[in-house]
Symmetry: C3
Subunit: 350 residues, 3 copies
């Protein structure tokens, strides 16, 4: 963990982010740290009561707690209704985005029709195509490729080796990690006489503001209309978003999720790692999909959805798995037995 250069007093932090301070407002903290490894100068946090015991030996200079935990320690502390969000904000204050010196690296290739404000940073070996528009204070990392007509919003940060195909639009304050590919062709193919004919993909990808996209995630351009990612969406690594998908605002997806073509995901949803969502279906707002779940139909009702085969020791699994192929027969047998028993009961009553 890197040490930050500057610290903030607890007083300054509470002034900025609210919360109730119990303790000396002049104490200075310069980094966040977990309870178990924090040292003097660190501010730590407790969000899960099961770690409460770690407060005892905690060497941090201060700690962020929920209001309910206000007397869990004598340490200098900040009480918050939402200590994890509070911690996130304090960490953001202590660990600001790296300031990059504005300017275009001498090795970058920039089309003369591109619009690049003086506040922008462009790294080595970056390629910026014709008619590209980059917003103020944006950072385009080394080796990035922005195709013709791409638009990038203010304050966006592209790590090295992001590729954005022609015509795609990315909002403000985006964070795109290395290996992200935006706007590759959707998987559009038509069958004729046993061969596949390519369907040109003439839509774009349009991404709202405050979107973060993890390393090696891919978002395909639309077949005819656009693929849309709304404001505040957070995508982890290795996710595949197919053509004409729409992801609603403030939805978050963990790693390795796959979303098939034209699926519409609501706002404020969460999708667990490795889940697969089939195409041409709709999921309403505020739905949670569990990790590893395959969604095969539209979801019209708020809630958490799961399709997971529980894991077990292989030898136990073997015993059970055999029956999975024969549930239909088990159900039939059960029905037969029911009939036979009714018959026996009837006879017994006679």
């Amino acid at each position: 963990m890197m040490r930050t250069d500057t610290g903030y007093t607890l007083g300054a932090i509470v002034e900025r982010f609210g919360g109730e301070l119990i303790g000396d407002a002049d104490i200075v903290v310069n980094q966040v740290a977990p309870l178990s490894s924090a040292l003097s100068g660190h501010i730590s946090f407790l969000t899960n009561p099961k770690y409460r015991r770690q407060l005892q030996d905690c060497k941090a200079s201060a700690v962020i707690l929920s209001v309910a935990e206000h007397d869990a320690t004598d340490m200098p502390r900040i009480l918050s209704d939402n200590p994890y969000a509070y911690f996130a904000k304090v960490s953001g204050l202590l660990n600001p985005k790296r300031a990059e010196a504005p300017g275009i690296h001498s090795t970058a290739v920039i089309d003369q029709t591109a619009s690049i404000p003086a506040s922008v940073t462009i790294g080595a070996f970056a390629f910026v195509g014709a008619s590209v528009k980059v917003g103020e204070h944006a950072v385009i990392g080394s080796g990035c490729h922005l195709g013709e007509g791409v638009e990038v919003g203010d304050d966006s940060l592209f790590y090295p080796q992001v590729v954005v195909y022609q015509g795609c639009v990315i909002g403000k304050r985006a964070i795109l990690h290395s290996g992200v590919v935006i706007g590759a062709d959707g998987f559009g193919i038509a069958m004729e006489n046993g061969c596949w004919i390519k369907v040109p993909q003439i839509g774009r990808v349009v991404i709202g503001d405050d979107v973060e996209i993890g390393a090696n995630t891919t978002v395909d351009r639309g077949a005819l209309d656009d693929t849309i990612i709304e404001d505040g969406v957070k995508l982890d690594n290795q996710i595949q978003v197919a053509h004409n998908v729409r992801i609603g605002a403030h939805t978050a997806m963990a790693g390795c999720v796959g979303i098939a073509g034209s699926a519409k995901i609501g706002k404020h949803c969460t999708v667990g790692g490795g889940a697969v969502i089939l195409g041409h279906l709709e999921i309403v707002d505020r739905v949670n999909i569990s990790a590893g779940t395959l969604v095969t139909k539209s979801i019209t009702k708020v809630g958490t959805y799961t399709s997971v085969m529980p894991f077990s020791m292989h030898q136990d699994w073997l015993k059970n798995a055999a029956h999975l192929r024969h549930l239909d027969k088990m159900a039939e047998k059960l029905s037969e037995l029911e009939k036979k028993i009714s018959e026996l009961e009837r006879k017994n009553l006679e």
Copy 2:
């Protein structure tokens, strides 16, 4: 959706692709569009009867229909036995591959022993190794890396940042999207005394003609013999093809599929998104694997195969999942009950 520069008359389209034209042959169309958003100058299409109603308000200048739908509208229309393939061809006509000016970007690094015809386009920061052979009219995007001895067929298109390791061979008219890695080492390791020893991967990847490979897909080189992708195969994004796999001609795979080592997939197969195919097995021609399915054994018979746990509300899933671990006991109980009932029935007959 971008507007194309040039239009074609319906007469010219029918002359080129066949089909029956009902309406004015001189009508000009310059772009494809969905029924719901098409405007004048667009040609639309109906392939799914459930959208038939959209014909009523459709503003397109013409529409492609199946022969069966010939009187579903009064609009100028082209009737085809396969309207989706027809649409694909019309879209391909109206949206041709971008013409790139031939030439090698001044920043590209090209080994002097590489063979690069004058019709080839090579982008900025591309690296072309010793003895590479690039076919006529091929386009190698910015930042691509072609290792020593790589061969690329005529008219192939590599988007930015494709990597092809040494010795691999790619056929004609290939389309490789950004982030594709061809020919990395297969996962060959041998265990000795608790440590893994690397098995050198000395095969190649050999890819036929008319193959498209989606963004961030990886195809590993063979351990001893080659990994083979036959003609006309279409791979979506984020797919992993392990060493010594063979994928038969005209097979298509959706995103996030994983294929383990030495699996042999037949021709004209389809594999749904997120499916996993284990190693050292064979799948015959014309097999369809459903999305999310894990194929653990060879498939010797044409058909569709599925292994999906249906998803449900989490609380319903919880109730059912508990029994998944105890199917064996359920089956046992069922057998016991059957015996007891037979016994009871026998006694009742006595």
Copy 3:
């Protein structure tokens, strides 16, 4: 398969790697090959008895066998307790890592504060940031990006277009394939009022010695503490390792595995392709996870674990899948029947 320049006598091989030679020690072999396609000059191997018949027509100059198979052929042969590991070593001898001429390509951009010994090779368009330390004889491929303060151990090999974010540490003899991204931000977000706040990821990735990482695999940096990959770990392609994961020494994972945040995987484990391991759990040493398995809880006992829904013809699956949603009712019915039968039996005894 490429032919190597130099050969070794069987005598020299046995002298180097042990094993018992039966046959002429002066026979020279210059490449490894499978039994079925080996030619004169090749050395082949038999590790699976089911291929024993192929020995009959094998044209190799020699073969590696287990001690048990010592008389399975009359060919010149080397007997080993572990013929696959022996083969791996012979192949490594005959197919050494490509010798790269040391030196920095003229197009590479190297910060003047980076430490690059003269024995290092750095390819075209590579970017090496401030304070980077590269070990002796390391090879950094074309287009790689090493962020500020990255450390790379001796004899490591980075294929083209690997990205390592600032501050990450990679041990000796690492092999990182193209598209690997080390040290991107972990997926840390906190919810406040319906919006996600980014949690800065201030840990690093620390990778031990002798680690190989496959193409397009991603390993995220820690949120506060580091993400750790211990010595001898082998990761295949398209794997996602989330923040604060620890992977124990000599553990191997096949392609497309996803590991969620803070999971601790033991030493000497194996994880099959497409498996998903949820976060904040622990798996002890020497555990095997089957392909496609979702691990939802800690594993405290050595063994093999599986959670796979068996695949079947789609129509059979349909019949069975219907019951998967109603196992709870099946179990209830079964209990009811048990009661009724007990009742009937009691009455019959009366």
